[in-house]
Symmetry: C2
Subunit: 252 residues, 2 copies
């Protein structure tokens, strides 16, 4: 068998999914793509993603890889082949052959998430599944003062869900910031990896303390405390997008 390794760039609307990972009797992204791969290969093919996303979370740039023995098919031809077998709320955006030892999870250098917030106006019905509605208009400068403290190697215990199974809660954060795109407020954060539900906890905590008018220095103290009880509420999944995953060896 002449085995090849194919990497995929995948986007999905998380609204009608119980998340990425296969679960019995639930509609998941992994299950649908693996079913499409099974149709193509006439046998099961395991799909490895950069990481799981929770129910309701969207992706603009999820990455995954699988091994195939289909010969005479250029990597990029998997794009139309898979899309023809997938529903409209999940799309393969790109596909390419990669080295046999490429692993979508272990080789990922950074994950970037975006959280969309509609602030100070009513979310329009077509936006309701893709953003958090915030009635007040937060102070973006203050939020960015907090966000600048999220940089470098950090103990992320403040943002760790009690159910998080990770042994270490230290992560390397490349950067975090708020910016306005059109009339939506966007929070973007990149790290080598995230704890379970961490991005939603970070966004909720920043918004919580901005509303309280906390100083950036005091926010730094909270970060350093490692005290989970000081975290703000975890914001809901519908505003969250897995935006981009970057690799040590080139990008997908």
């Amino acid at each position: 068998m002449n085995e090849r390794n194919i990497r995929l760039l995948i986007a999905y609307d998380g609204t009608d999914f119980a998340g990425w990972q296969i679960q019995k009797n639930r509609r998941t992204v992994q299950a649908l793509i693996e079913a499409a791969l099974e149709t193509m290969h006439r046998e099961r093919r395991a799909l490895t993603a950069s990481g799981r996303t929770d129910a309701g979370v969207h992706a603009a740039g999820q990455t995954a890889n699988f091994h195939t023995d289909i010969a005479n098919m250029e990597g990029r031809r998997f794009v139309p082949a898979l899309n023809s077998l997938l529903p409209k709320d999940v799309r393969v955006l790109d596909a390419a052959e990669t080295s046999l030892d490429f692993h979508a999870r272990f080789d990922a250098r950074s994950r970037t998430y975006r959280y969309h917030i509609i602030a100070g106006r009513a979310a329009l019905p077509h936006e309701r599944r893709y953003a958090l509605q915030l009635w007040r208009r937060p102070d973006i400068n203050r939020l960015n003062e907090y966000a600048r403290r999220l940089r470098g190697e950090m103990d992320c215990s403040v943002f760790a869900s009690p159910k998080d199974p990770s042994k270490s809660r230290t992560r390397y954060i490349y950067g975090a910031s708020f910016f306005v795109e059109g009339d939506t407020l966007v929070f973007e954060i990149s790290a080598n990896a995230f704890l379970w539900r961490m991005v939603r906890s970070v966004a909720g905590t920043l918004l919580h303390y901005e509303q309280k008018g906390l100083s950036a220095a005091s926010f730094g103290d909270i970060l350093n405390s490692g005290d989970r009880s000081l975290a703000g509420p975890t914001v809901p999944p519908e505003g969250l997008f897995l935006w981009k995953v970057e690799y040590y060896r080139g990008c997908v």
Copy 2:
């Protein structure tokens, strides 16, 4: 009976609607809002909109009015009252008491529509219901050269559907232009009123001739010809938003 006149500002996600206007056994926006009004009034109340929108077309700023004999209720209280009776894909954004003779259709001075285009990249799954996917990247400068010719009193026969029932095909266009918002190309056009499906015909015609590389002068000749057979294809409804309606006497 102490009759009052209430004007509404309404947004909807057109995806699951057969358009604005009531039709037997179809899910329409007018039918849902009139049903909510009937629940509040215990009798039917006719709702008049600025105009109909077709199946699949969205609204960020539709306007409508109805007469009520409910006393002791401030106009803006109709916002939560109606929203509590409506599904999430239609929202009343504002409500206010207005003069008894206000008519949402006859008093409208201008209608503004936006058409959303995702050009030169794949539409992400969460965008699929709200924009046209165009694989090529059009020349915005050229499109705006054409759009600048859409101004003032014009015979709009080129853009008139054969089924359009209007007696006159003359409309007053206040302006039309293309601009980029985030990573979406937006076409915006304002006029006193539009023929049936005219905005989608205008957008389709402009894109059609831009692809052919037609000069702006030749595009002007096509406009003046009044020859429907020279129109480009009518683009699909999912990219279209009724954006704003303005009135002679203040705005809703």
